[in-house]
């Protein structure tokens, strides 16, 4: 029994239970809090998977920026109480939960059925040429995927301009 196995089970338990709490909780502020915890746990799991850069980015972007945004907006809304937190309609609710459960069953079944293709092994082994370090990730980003990378920058610019344009008040210097 490796420590990593225990860690995996523990972290995945935390992830799943707090994710469930996000969905189930009545108070949206609590939901935001639980989501933050879920993000951090996920970063932990990325560390387990030796994806250090990704884990770092997860912490910085999700837990650091996105969750902050969420909390800021929640603060702005200032919701006192939350009645009607779940959608109405018993039949459609049961249908929704049931269908999602069925979906999970399908995916799990698919994973199980193709497990012989996927059992690559638990241990690390390196490939020739391309490594698995952050440096290799950076090289890939700036050589093979440079176009998508630049587009991503453009997209962020657009998002920034768009967010300001959507939420501005009338007036300003523009006619």
């Amino acid at each position: 029994m490796d420590i990593s196995v225990l860690l995996f089970y523990g972290m995945s338990f935390i992830i799943l239970s707090f994710a469930l709490a996000v969905v189930v909780s009545n108070n949206p502020v609590y939901s935001a809090f639980y989501l933050a915890i879920t993000m951090v746990s996920l970063a932990f799991v990325y560390f387990l998977l030796q994806a250090y850069f990704i884990a770092g980015v997860q912490l910085i972007v999700y837990a650091g920026a996105v969750m902050v945004l969420f909390v800021m907006v929640l603060m702005m809304f200032d919701l006192k109480k939350e009645k009607d937190s779940f959608s109405k309609g018993r039949l459609s609710n049961i249908l929704k939960v049931g269908s999602v459960g069925w979906l999970w069953g399908l995916i799990a079944g698919a994973i199980y059925m193709s497990s012989d293709l996927l059992s690559i092994g638990a241990t690390l082994h390196t490939k020739d040429g391309v490594g698995t370090t952050t440096k290799d990730l950076a090289i890939l980003l700036y050589t093979d995927y440079i176009f998508a990378f630049e587009l991503l920058g453009l997209l962020l610019l657009l998002i920034a301009v768009g967010a300001v344009a959507v939420s501005r008040i009338k007036g300003g210097t523009h006619a």
């Binding site: 995996f8 799943l16 969905v23 879920t38 907006v73 919701l79 937190s85 490939k127 990730l137 959507v166």
Partner: protein
């Protein structure tokens, strides 16, 4: 199926099942909750589940391209969260209401 062998060694399958479960939980949240922000949070959950599965694949096949994909997904998810929240703010300022069952004007 739940043998000691299976449970004892953590392989790709375990990570994928966790990722699938996380995805489904996020989907339930999108379908069931009425608050706009909680729906956005559930969407974040689903994106993270996908990230997890990508990273798991990348680790177990020793291919760094999976992490490149995660990089992109994360960036886009963050951008989308930003725009979505800007819209939610605008809607709240206009209607003073964050319950999406209020916004049914496009009904047939």
């Amino acid at each position: 199926m739940l043998s000691f062998d299976f449970l004892g060694t953590v392989g790709l399958n375990h990570y994928l099942i966790v990722s699938a479960a996380l995805f489904c939980i996020g989907m339930v949240g999108v379908l069931l909750r009425r608050n706009v922000l909680v729906i956005l949070m559930s969407i974040e959950l689903m994106l993270n589940a996908v990230n997890l599965s990508f990273v798991a694949f990348s680790h177990f096949s020793q291919n760094i391209n999976g992490q490149v994909m995660v990089f992109f997904v994360m960036t886009i998810a963050a951008a989308e969260a930003g725009v979505g929240l800007a819209l939610a703010v605008t809607i709240f300022k206009r209607f003073k209401e964050v319950n999406i069952s209020f916004f049914e004007q496009l009904k047939g």
